[in-house]
């Protein structure tokens, strides 16, 4: 070794690592195919072992050489189909490769490693599969001697015989390291590599004994002997090896000068497995010992790897960019010297572009494929499954995903633990799986993919899942959470308990995956990588651990926010969404649950935290007032509101709910009124709009109330000094463009610090969620807005509108005092609102009109107007008194204007009574003594439908949701003959109501008609299933009425038949 360059050794180690990198996967693939050998694959592994052996011999790494050699023999037999690669065999090979890897990693001490265990096993494999006659040859050693009688190497007879098979020639080749190698600018490894291409290296050795003293001839100072088996003919050998013919000697085995080695006994003693009576190797034993060892070694492995291979192209582009940067700097200097603002700007831009490209390119050099860690999992899973007696299929997806080197390295342990966890605790044994009606083989999926600027890694299994109740029980027993806390936790949070320190390690100390790191360590590791873990699980179905990681640690995109006078950065990865709540809506959107404020967002409860308050910053706005300061504040709020309303016109509906014409004063009154309530309720005291950053911290989301939202910028993360490391609320600091320092908020730490937990689960929270859901359902209705005259805004429910046509005045015909127009081949009656309703401005004479086409009672009618304005979805609240008259449902405010909402049925009925003759006929002669139960959550529709059914002469009980209807039904059991229900309702929906009714003998006979805004095929089928008899579109009252009458008639018939 002394004469060998360190560089060669390093090269050998690097190359060997590369060879070993994918060995596991290949071996496992070989195992999978069993007797169906894939030559290519086996060759690949064989070559790896062979290359390792070749280099090791040269570098005098005797243990590595020996082990690699034995493995090579086994692989050769597999290749020759003399040995079936069953799990036993592969196991031994895997363990041997592990050992090789260890030795390569600490190559300096590799010669001291005890490899006898592996050698025994491997030799056992070879010997066990040989014909008896050949067995002895494995342990028989042959000496290879030079013509001068000096023995340069020993080799087993078996190897020699083997190499000679298939017409191979055996050569003893001698290179002079000085003259033949070094002077040609090659390394011995190059030579070996070249030779491996065309044959096998049986043995190689540097003959130290030949190194003479200084007095000797200097020509042959470093002879390097290689015993080489190849199919190459002797005459082409010198050309192939670029050697003088003298240096190559062909060796024939039969007349070999060899005799049985001088000390076969000692060798045999070392390799007892070569004997026939030795039991086959016991992989079980070996595996436990050895995996333990490899685990420790592997850790060392990652830390040792300090050099990095970089794609040459990438390096080129880095060079280019560096050149560009220099160019940019020169330009900048020049521009500064000339004091040309424009040129300076240009140079600045150029440098900026180059800098970001440079940054990206440098980042890329650090990027590594995640396959580096994924590749070891097939092995991990296989070994564990075997030990646990489970069958597990591991699917890996997304190996090509690249991440920062540091992250990849830090990810290895937590991922291994999670995989082990899935195999150990997730997937059940085949027996249990069969009992549970699952396939005996479990599946573990490992998936990496990019998403939202992050890398997502999912580890999922189809095992038994995690029972949140059990976890909570255990956590309470350990005193990690109180039962009070547990009561208000969501399942997701309960699941997250397993990540708490002191939970997992305590429980799983005896389990396989409990060894080494516990789940809390997984969490800590991932936290330090800026990652987040989410756990999803369904009992009996399986669990999924989802990890989100940044692509890189050094530079991360952050959202800047301000609180007080300070700016803070929140990693974009934690930011879910930004919400601005207008001052006017604070009361609606923010509720108090216990002492905590929560935001109601799309029916979800999200706890909120004021950043300034959480950090203990001095407040920048006045503290909540007592009664004394109220007047002043009231004005403030009112002012704010009107300003806000101007900015956000849609806020109007909320502000002026329920008010009539006098809009400006209404806003003011309302605002004052609200502010009084605001302060009175002590609900929320902020005087302005609220900016809320919804952040996610793994288990749950919360809202961070900040004073200002700024840009999202890529920042360089700088660590905080030791004095501030203990502060969990900060993840570090960064330097902003102006040179000032901004702190980076650690979303998890901040939440923990504020003792925050999600509130879903508390009774009060449920109530609130209910309320908000009800709010969502309430009276959201689409309207078509149009006008007759610029001063008047009219609205019709969009559901009723079929089409809007633009027509010329000339298209309107007047026949018999009626307006009609040609529409799709028939003449369609037209009317104006002012034809029916007094006090409405008449449609002025003009060239163009719009016609809103409705379909009522199967006939189409057209309503004339002048301009279509908008289609809008609003939460309306009708004023039914102020402007009430026939044909008008009432008035409301839409988009700042008082708007009249038309009652199309009344209008049409009044304008064209003849269209309703059919209904009259139906209604007449019907028994009016029927009562209908109506379930409808929208006040607007409830009112409409009730009125309409009543107008047909029936009695109506109206309920505001399914639950209320169900209660009402129990109460008025005797009276109710038919149920009309909406589908979407809070508490109990239409389907639920129908199911309840059908399930109860007392009510099962009642006909149920569902009314809905939109009925799809799915709904229809679902409705049928739930027991709904008929579907009608809301607001098409004619059809609804017909349907009601049809059912009534049927009921009557049944009743009459029973009577008779």
């Amino acid at each position: 070794m002394t004469v060998m360059d360190d560089e060669i050794l390093k090269m050998y180690v690097d190359e060997s690592r590369e060879h070993l990198a994918n060995i596991e996967a290949d071996l496992l693939a070989i195992e999978d195919r069993g007797a169906d050998i894939d030559d290519e694959l086996v060759n690949k592994v064989f070559r790896a072992a062979h290359s390792l052996k070749g280099g090791a011999a040269f570098l005098n790494l005797i243990r590595i050489k020996e082990l690699a050699h034995k493995m090579e023999n086994v692989l050769d037999m597999i290749r020759a189909r003399e040995l079936v690669p069953n799990p036993e065999v592969i196991n031994i090979l895997l363990l041997s490769f592990d050992c090789l890897r260890e030795m390569i990693n600490s190559v300096d001490t590799s010669n001291d490693v005890d490899i006898s265990e592996f050698v025994v096993s491997l030799t056992g494999l070879t010997a066990a599969n040989l014909p008896v006659a050949e067995k002895q040859s494995v342990s028989n050693m042959v000496d290879i001697a030079l013509p001068d009688g000096r023995i340069v190497m020993h080799i087993s007879e078996f190897d020699l015989n083997h190499a000679q098979m298939g017409g191979q020639f055996i050569y003893l080749i001698v290179y002079d390291l000085l003259n033949d190698v070094q002077r040609l600018g090659k390394t011995p490894l190059d030579i070996l590599k070249n030779m491996i291409e065309a044959g096998v290296i049986l043995e190689s050795v540097v003959d130290m004994g030949a190194i003479g003293t200084l007095d000797d001839e200097p020509s042959r100072l470093f002879p390097f002997y290689i015993l080489y088996g190849t199919i190459l003919e002797p005459d082409i050998m010198p050309g192939f090896l670029q050697l003088d013919g003298n240096a190559i000697r062909k060796i024939t085995v039969s007349p070999l000068t060899a005799k049985p080695a001088a000390q076969p006994e000692t060798i045999v003693a070392k390799m007892p497995a070569a004997r026939e009576d030795i039991p086959p190797p016991q992989p079980e034993q070996g595996s436990t010992n050895v995996t333990e060892k490899t685990k420790q070694e592997r850790k060392a492995d990652t830390s040792q790897e300090t050099s990095l291979r970089v794609n040459v192209q990438l390096l080129e582009s880095l060079m280019n960019l560096a050149g560009e940067l220099v160019l940019g700097r020169n330009q900048l200097y020049q521009a500064i010297a000339q004091n040309e603002a424009r040129a300076i700007k240009l140079a600045g831009q150029r440098i900026s572009i180059v800098t970001s490209e440079l940054q990206e390119a440098i980042m890329q050099t650090r990027m590594q494929s995640i396959s580096n860690i994924f590749n070891k999992f097939p092995r991990v899973v296989r070994d564990m499954a075997k030990n646990l007696g489970k069958e597990i299929i591991l699917n890996i997806e997304g190996k090509e995903v690249e991440m920062d080197k540091t992250i990849i390295e830090g990810l290895s342990d937590p991922l291994t633990h999670l995989i082990r966890n899935s195999v150990d605790h997730g997937v059940e044994t085949p027996e249990i799986r069969i009992q549970a009606d699952k396939k005996p083989a479990g599946t573990v999926n490992l998936r990496a993919y990019h998403g939202a600027g992050q890398v997502n890694i999912e580890i999922s299994d189809d095992g038994k899942g995690i029972d949140p109740q059990k976890i909570v029980a255990a956590a309470i027993a350990r005193g990690l959470v109180t039962s009070e806390q547990a009561r208000i936790m969501s399942d997701k949070e309960k699941m997250a308990i397993i990540l708490l320190p002191g939970f997992s390690t305590a429980e799983k100390i005896t389990d396989i995956s409990g060894r080494g790191v516990g789940m809390d360590v997984v969490k800590t590791n991932l936290d330090s990588l800026g990652g987040q873990v989410e756990i999803e699980s369904e009992i009996g179905k399986g669990s999924t651990f989802r990890i989100k990681l940044p692509l890189t640690l050094a530079i991360i995109p952050c959202l800047f926010v301000s609180a007080g006078d300070e700016r803070f950065a929140i990693p974009q990865a934690n930011v879910e969404e930004l919400i601005r709540i207008r001052a006017a809506q604070i009361k609606e959107k923010i509720e108090l649950v216990g002492a905590a404020e929560v935001l109601i967002l799309r029916g979800k409860m999200i706890p909120i935290l004021n950043l300034a308050r959480a950090l203990g910053m001095p407040r920048t706005y006045p503290a909540p007032p007592d009664g004394g300061r109220e007047p002043e504040r009231r004005i403030q709020i009112a002012n704010r509101r009107s300003r806000v309303s101007a900015l956000f016109p849609e806020a109007k509906t909320a502000v002026v709910d329920g008010f009539g014409e006098n809009v400006p004063s209404a806003i003011k009154d309302m605002s004052n009124d609200q502010s009084k309530r605001l302060t009175g309720d002590r609900r929320f005291h902020a005087v302005s709009d609220l900016n809320i950053v919804i952040v996610t911290s793994g288990a749950f989301e919360y809202g961070l109330v900040v004073e200002g939202l700024h840009d999202s910028i890529e920042i360089v993360v700088k660590p905080l000094g030791r004095h501030l490391k203990a502060l969990r609320e900060y993840a570090g600091a960064t330097i902003m463009g102006d040179g000032k320092v901004a702190l980076i908020i650690d979303v998890n730490g901040l939440a923990a610090l504020s003792g925050m937990t999600s509130l879903a689960g508390t009774t009060r929270a449920m109530e609130l969620a209910d309320e908000s859901r009800r709010d969502n359902f309430q009276d959201i209705q689409s309207f078509l807005l149009f006008s007759n005259t610029p001063e008047e805004q009219l609205a019709v429910p969009l559901d009723l509108v079929q089409r809007i046509e633009q027509i010329k005045a000339a298209e309107i015909e007047k026949i018999g005092g009626r307006k009609v127009m040609q529409y799709r081949g028939v003449s369609m009656p037209l009317f104006c609102v002012n034809d029916v309703v007094g006090n409405i401005h008449p449609v002025p004479d003009q060239k163009d009109y719009i016609v809103i086409v409705f379909s009522l009672t199967g006939k189409e009618v057209g309503l004339l107007g002048t301009t279509p304005l908008d289609i809008t979805e609003v939460k309306i609240s009708l004023d039914r008194t102020t402007l009430k008259q026939k044909g008008i449902m009432g008035s409301t405010i839409i988009g700042k204007h008082t708007t009249l909402v038309l009652d199309m049925h009344e209008l049409v009925e009044t304008a064209f009574p003849e269209l309703f003759a059919e209904r009259e006929r139906l209604v007449q002669g019907m028994d009016k003594d029927f009562t209908i139960l109506l379930a409808e959550d929208s006040e607007f529709f409830r009112h409409q439908v009730t009125k309409f059914i009543e107008s047909a002469g029936y009695k109506v009980f109206a309920a505001e949701d399914g639950m209320a209807a169900w209660e009402l039904l129990q109460e008025k059991e005797k009276e109710i003959n038919l149920v009309v229900t909406d589908i979407e309702m809070p508490r109990l929906d239409g389907f639920g109501l129908a199911r309840n009714i059908r399930a109860n003998r007392r009510f099962a006979h009642l006909p149920i008609i569902a009314v809905t805004s939109l009925a799809g095929e799915d709904d229809f089928a679902r409705g049928k299933e739930a027991g709904i008899d008929d579907y009608q579109v809301k607001l098409d009252r004619e059809k609804l009425l017909k349907s009601i009458i049809t059912f009534m008639r049927r009921l009557k018939d049944v009743a009459e038949r029973q009577d008779t």
Binding site: P719, L720, H723, Y730, A742
Partner: protein, 152 residues
């Protein structure tokens, strides 16, 4: 490796002296990186009371310690004379806020006398000793102890 490699005992060491209020104090110059004027600081909320904030020192984040407060003397007021002594400590830079920079004097560590018992225990703990320079008593601060103490 701690940069507070103290100068050899018995040899002369260079002491940077400064004032906290009216008290003359000194630290071993070996650990002093530089002295800067007060620049804009970012407050770190929830930090210990003696941490004034963090600054950007040529791309490094440097924690600023209110030395007077740390030594239980008083809370510093920032005046035009105030300076920050940047010291190197355990691979990081830390700034010490002082009221006024004074002088640099050579001193012999052997001539340090233990802090008088009248000094509060806590202060005494942070002092390497007291040195008499030209009839001026000077308290020598043990930077390592001051910075390593993370309570409070």
């Amino acid at each position: 490796m701690s940069a507070m490699t103290k100068s050899d005992g018995g040899k002369q060491i260079l002491i940077s002296t400064f004032y906290l209020g009216d008290t003359l104090m000194g630290i071993d110059t070996v650990c002093v990186q530089e002295v800067i004027r007060i620049i804009e600081m970012t407050t770190v909320f929830h930090a210990p009371e003696h941490i004034l904030g963090i600054i950007n020192l040529r791309g490094r984040i440097v924690t600023i310690v209110d030395l007077a407060r740390k030594l239980d003397l008083f809370e510093s007021q920032i005046t035009p004379d105030s300076r920050i002594i940047i010291v190197q400590w355990n691979d990081e830079y830390v700034g010490l806020l002082v009221d006024r920079i004074h002088d640099a004097v050579y001193a012999d560590r052997n001539n340090f006398i233990p802090p008088p018992p009248s000094i509060k225990e806590r202060q005494g703990h942070f002092l390497e000793g007291v040195y008499n320079a030209n009839d001026h008593l000077m308290a020598i601060v043990d930077v390592d102890k001051v910075l390593a103490d993370t309570d409070k």
